[in-house]
Amino acid sequence: MLEQITQLADPIGAFIGFALTIMVLSYIIGDNVLFRLAISIFIGVASGYAAVLILYNVLWHQVIIPVFQAVTTGDTEGLLTYATQVAPAVILGIWMMTKASPRLARGSTPVLAFLTGVGAATVIAGAVRGTILPQVGASMNLLSTQAAPPETGRLVGWFINGIIILAGTVTTLIYFQFGVRRQEEGVPVHRSAILDYLSTAGHGFIMVTLGVLFAGVYVAALSALIDRVRFIWEIILRFF
């Protein structure tokens, strides 16, 4: 809404926005020149702006300004910190830039190896500390008596819902079981009967979850569509 107000305050911007909106929506009919032009502009602008923002916040604020300030103020401690915290990264970064040349590309591999190693460690720690432990903890607390509502009427509902969530979480996990019983050649592999029942239930829970999320995504997209229709209508009212 307010973004429209900003645009409407600027007739040229509003008209360009209007044109781009029509060009993009034309994709509904099919892939066409107008859509391609619009997304080409969009990719250029979006990527350019993102690059500027990130470079501004990282390279400018963390690499260039600190050394400039440390030198001007003669802050030796700051320079020392910079030499250990930032300078090696800058050297590695410049080293990595050799990737731009196909001839020197291989030389930057150790830097990428370093990035990959750090990334791998980060995702492991993030998965364990950010997802596994909190989600397991939350599942265990489902039926915690401390979280139980005092009213008897709500208590039953709370308990049943807790059991359903617990069963859903467990069966969904079981659904992903990859290993199956050994079978003789030629016979299609399948799980044991109990596993089959459990994983079928898990599959059902997954479908319900995806259905709820899909509806949410659709509602968000529909809101965007409504916003565009409103924007087009406001431009028509203003200019035509």
């Binding site: 900003t6 009919i29 702006y49 923002l53 300004i65 939350a138 968000a220 965007a224 209508w233």
Partner: protein, 616 residues
């Protein structure tokens, strides 16, 4: 050729499979193989003279007298009348045999039905075996017979006789004396029965090329069937030749005389111990190279059908090499039309609602949507001039859905005279934040540049950046986007960690970002009692709501999606509806109808298909 020793009876080299016996006899048969049915009798006339002149000029001294005589006498001897036609017939027969190796056994049908052969086989008591033998014999004969084909009719018609028993004419005796190789090559012990078998079979098989079979053939059954098995040579009485056989002697004489014919055109050995001999197996490799039976047999074995297959394969390969034009996508397809219809059904009600500014559907009330009331109350409870952290972690695409709620929150905070610190972990967040702040300030009549907020910009490092922000925001974002060191001055100089803010308002469309904030930063906020408020998109609501519903709540207030924004707007004096909510309602209703219609169609089509399958 490997030049390794072979036993005289060997027909091809044991080591390199080079033909031994055939070698000397291929030459005269080659024209026939090439399809020219020139009778061998003519060949000398055409080819022999130059060959002889060469021979005599170069090897006059080397050639022994006896050989000169034999050559002379043989060159003078006239060609038999029967030779021309029989050679043609046989070459036809052999072509037929070789070109249809697989149909050999089928080919026995007519052969067996044929009276004389049927009786022969019956008396021999080996119908089936003999048929198989014939098949195999044909294959062998394909190569073996060809060279000597010109002489196959005679031995075939007469009852086979053990070669060693045959009364040889004088010239043969001379020949034997002169060259043992000739004799062995010409009549190996096992050959006559085979030949007899071949011919009798082929004559049975070849309709057009069938030779006139005299009546007598039917009588001497025992003799006739002997060829089929080696041991049947025994019953053949050596000297028990019928009188009529005498009459055949001249023609019979021809049989061994063929090799001599070969001599006229056969190469003279120019090197090695056999130098000067004609038609003998040369030790010179070129002799073998010049006569490659495989090439010869391959030529013969290619049938029309195989030719056709080869051509087909060549065509396929040629097409493979050609770059295929990739199929162009149809512009108007049923899918595109359906897509267009769906789009119209969805968009038209929305357009109608927006253009008419319809207000039939009642706006969502704050108390109906969980979290909205708590959110607005949490903001209201903030002290005047409080420092609030606003995380603009959403993409521009969701601004249509979320900007109403965000602008409401900002105006509410402006009313509380709060100082807003803006951060983001997305690439669009900083610009969205700045735009919304400017718009809100202008709407609230606050002049731009008023120190109501500071935009710290982008937090690099994703979740790690958030952890850094939670504990040491100064290190992660040392300067504002304007380049000011905002941490040195009030009100941020009192802030050392994220928990020092009075409230944290997270605005995101991404459930992962919401989880990162709630799980990584949330615990610190809970310890300090700082409320974490959430403005989110409808797509993230299902995954974020549990944190709001949790006991104790990890999110203190929540405004989900467009509905939440409209409800939240009403808590601060109402927001203009202008048909937005009606358009939303109409859009949802239309889309539900489309989905149901599609699902029903799908089920019906599936049922029809299943029914058709059953019927078929």
């Amino acid at each position: 050729m490997c030049r390794k020793p072979n036993t005289p009876v060997q027909e091809e080299c044991l080591y390199c499979q080079a033909p031994l016996k055939g070698a000397g006899f291929i030459a005269p048969a080659e024209p026939a193989a090439e399809g020219s049915q020139v009778p061998p009798s003519e060949e000398p006339g055409e080819e022999a003279p130059p060959a002889q002149s060469d021979l005599f000029s170069s090897l006059e001294d080397a050639v022994p007298d006896w050989l000169k005589e034999t050559e002379a006498s043989f060159l003078e001897s006239p060609a038999p009348e029967a030779e021309g036609p029989t050679s043609e017939q046989l070459s036809d027969q052999i072509d037929a045999l070789i070109n249809q190796p697989l149909t050999s056994s089928e080919g026995q049908g007519p052969a067996i039905d044929d009276d004389w052969l049927a009786s022969l086989l019956a008396e021999a008591g080996l119908n089936e075996p003999s048929i198989e033998d014939l098949g195999t014999a044909q294959d062998q004969g394909g190569i073996e017979l060809e060279p000597t084909g010109t002489s196959q009719d005679e031995p075939g018609e007469e009852p086979p006789i053990a070669p060693e028993q045959v009364q040889k004419p004088d010239w043969v005796s001379h020949l034997e004396a002169g060259s043992t190789i000739k004799l062995e090559g010409g009549m190996p012990p096992g050959e006559p029965p085979d030949r007899g078998l071949q011919v009798s079979e082929t004559t049975g098989q070849e309709g057009p090329g069938e030779v006139e079979i005299p009546d007598w053939v039917g009588k001497p059954g025992p003799e006739a069937d002997t060829p089929s098995a080696p041991e049947t040579e025994k019953p053949l009485a050596p000297a028990d030749l019928p009188g009529w056989l005498e009459a055949l002697k001249p023609s019979e004489d021809l049989s061994p005389s063929e090799p001599v014919e070969d001599l006229t055109t056969a190469e003279v050995v120019k090197a090695g111990p056999l130098m000067g001999l004609r038609g003998v197996l040369s030790a010179h490799p070129s002799a073998i190279r010049a006569r490659k039976p495989p090439t010869y047999s391959i030529k013969l074995r290619v049938t029309d059908e195989q030719h056709a297959r080869v051509e087909m394969m060549e065509e396929l390969l040629a097409n493979e090499q050609k770059p295929k034009p990739l199929p162009s996508k149809p512009i108007i397809s049923s899918r595109n039309i359906t897509r267009l219809v769906v789009a119209l059904v969805l968009i038209l009600p929305v357009i109608w609602a927006i253009f008419t500014g319809s207000q039939r559907v009642p706006l969502p009330q704050p108390n109906i949507i969980p979290g909205v009331v708590n959110c607005t109350q949490s903001v209201q409870r903030l002290p005047v001039g409080a420092s609030v952290l606003l995380a603009f972690d959403y993409e521009a695409g969701f601004s249509g859905e979320m900007n109403l709620a965000v602008s409401t929150a900002i105006s509410q905070l402006l009313m509380k005279n709060a100082f807003m610190t803006l951060v983001t972990t997305t690439s669009s967040g900083a610009a969205l934040a700045e735009s919304l702040m400017n718009a809100s300030l202008s709407t609230a009549g606050i002049p731009e540049g008023t120190s109501a907020y500071t935009n710290l910009g982008y937090i690099p490092g994703g979740t790690l950046g958030l952890l850094g922000l939670a504990t040491s925001p100064r290190a992660v974002l040392p300067y504002s986007l304007d380049g000011d060191n905002v941490w040195a001055a009030a009100p941020l100089n009192t802030i050392s960690g994220v928990a020092d803010f009075s409230a944290v308002l997270l605005i995101t469309h991404d459930p992962d970002i919401a989880r990162s904030w709630i799980e990584q930063v949330g615990p610190l906020l809970q310890e300090a009692g700082t409320p974490l408020l959430l403005i989110t998109s409808a797509q993230a609501e299902p995954l974020v709501r549990p944190y709001y519903e949790a006991v104790p709540a990890q999110v203190q207030g929540m405004v989900p999606g467009l509905a939440g924004g409209l409800a939240y707007g009403q808590t601060t004096g109402g927001s203009p509806q202008n048909g937005t909510w009606d358009a939303f309602s109409a859009g949802v209703t239309a889309s539900v109808l489309v989905i149901l219609a599609g699902a029903i169609t799908g089920v019906v089509v599936k049922m029809i298909k299943a029914k058709n399958k059953k019927e078929s």
